[in-house]
Every structure is written in C-alpha cells, then in structure tokens.
Homo-oligomer: 129 residues x 2
DNA sequence: TTTTTAATGATATATAATATCGTTAAAGGA
DNA sequence: TCCTTTAACGATATTATATATCATTAAAAA
C-alpha cells in the first residue's frame, strides 16, 4: 500500500500551515480552491485524514462543530471562544497525567483523550464592556 | 416563557435514567417508541436539550460521534472504549483545576471544558488475548 | 370551561463527513 | 523514455446527526 505524494496532498498540507489557526476542512478547501478551482472537497477531506494518520497534521475533534486541523502536531490542547468561535492553543503542564489517572480508575488500557476548553477570549470579553 | 411538564418530557427523562449507560438520542427514542409509537424523534431531541439546559440531564458532546446523555449530572468525566463503543464514568480528582490553568494560560474567562477519554475496556482487552 | 401559547408530530432542511465509481496520474520497472 | 499498476482523483450520492418550519394539540392558568 504505497502512499503517493500528489500535488493535492502538498496543497492541503501547505494550506493548513498557512492558515495556522486551526482551520476546518471547509476553510482549507476555500483557500486552495482560489488558485486551484478543480480540486474536490472530497480530496481535501481525504488528504486531511491521511496526513493526520501519518502524523503530519493533528486532527482536532471539536465537540459540537466541524473538526479542525493543526499544523503543530505535539503536546498541546485547545480552547474555543464561545462568542467568536476562534480556537487558540493551551499548554497544560500535566495533561498526560490525566490519562494515567483515568486508566487507573477504570482499568482501561491504551488511554488517550480529547479535550477542548471553552470560554470567552479577551477580545470578546472587552467588547461586552 | 413558562416550561410545561409534558408526558413526552417525563418519558425522555425516565428513559435516560433506565438506560443509565449514557444513551444517544437515537437510543432514547428507540426505547420510548416501543411503548409510545407516536412519539416523534424531534420531540426526543427537543426534550433532551431542554432537560439538559435545566440541569436534569447532562449533555455529553462526544467527539466524532452522536452526543450522549447522562442521568448523573455532576462532577465526573467519561471514557469510551474504542473497540466496543461503550461509555463508562471516570472520576478525576482535579478536573476543575484544569480550567483554572487554561484560563491563566490564555486570558480566557468563564472557562469550562469537554473531555472524553478513549481506550480499550478490560472486556475487549481480554477478548484479544 | 375557555383562553393562551409552549410543545408536539411530521417533515424539510442543514451540516459534516464518508462511500461509490469511472477516470487520471504517480511511481517503479522494462 | 514508455509501459504498467493502482493509489488517488473529481464528481456526486449517501449517511449520520441535528435543527428548523409549521399546522395542530394539549398544558397551565384565568
């Protein structure tokens, strides 16, 4: 099962890097289609999935919304503004310890987690006085 | 905006309590429709939402799957088996401290979080030898 | 009992993502 | 360089989950 390095795959990887701010599949498609009007949305979804599998992107599963993709693949979490919807990085000191605790508590093995914080970003907090 | 106590709402609340194990909206509907074949799926969704708003149920947003509902509303988290799909409770000692840390890190206010652990439950781990 | 209107059932629509399928082009060998 | 193989493509259909619309029904209060 070889893996081919298509120009579409390169475009998807580059687009996530350019957008940087945790774009959705839709946003990645919108950027690419400007210069490459023949690209298919299915191709964007497929490449986001395969690049994430291969560890070149990180797939962020957003509860209650479209999934997002991160060009930075390691060791951080995310916080979403409930007002404007923007997603920022959060660096937690002991996020990994949570998995160990959950494993101990439940007897589950191979434990990981998806965590997304929600709150109001400083910009939106100010706009409300 | 009064809130009416309909029999459908009672049925939904009771069904989540009976199922106990974090049912999806679909599963709640399936249980109720056996004895009340005229209930609408939209009504189940609406009541799950309104009961969650009112604090009588907890709405668990599952990343990458149908949302689930919990009759137990306070202070615990959840872990999903990646093999069989069942969802169990996890009790973490310091889950609230995470929010404070995220708030300090980012400057966001009113911070909460959605966290779902994933792993392999003891039953499924055994089946694989 | 009558009035008010929140909630209902039926259905249409929205959103996100995956599946299907005939065609195209990437990669390796001749 | 030119074949051959088949992963990946573009177009589109389908699935899954959830919400919106709207005429009708039934809770709650007068």
């Amino acid at each position: 099962m070889e893996r081919r390095n298509t120009i579409q795959k390169q475009l998807v990887l580059q687009a996530v890097g350019e957008l940087a701010d945790h774009p959705t599949a839709e946003e990645v498609y919108e950027l690419i289609v400007r210069d490459h009007p023949t690209i298919s949305k299915a191709t964007v979804y497929r490449n986001l999935a395969s690049l994430s599998e291969d560890g070149l992107l990180r797939h962020i599963k957003m509860p209650g919304g479209a999934d997002r993709f991160d060009h930075q693949t390691f060791g951080h979490n995310h916080i979403e503004c409930t007002v404007c919807g923007r997603v920022e990085d959060v660096r937690l000191s002991d996020a990994a310890a949570l998995d160990a605790q959950a494993a101990r508590e439940t007897g589950f093995t191979a434990v990981g987690h998806d965590i997304v914080f929600r709150g109001v970003c400083p910009g939106c907090a100010n706009k409300r006085h």
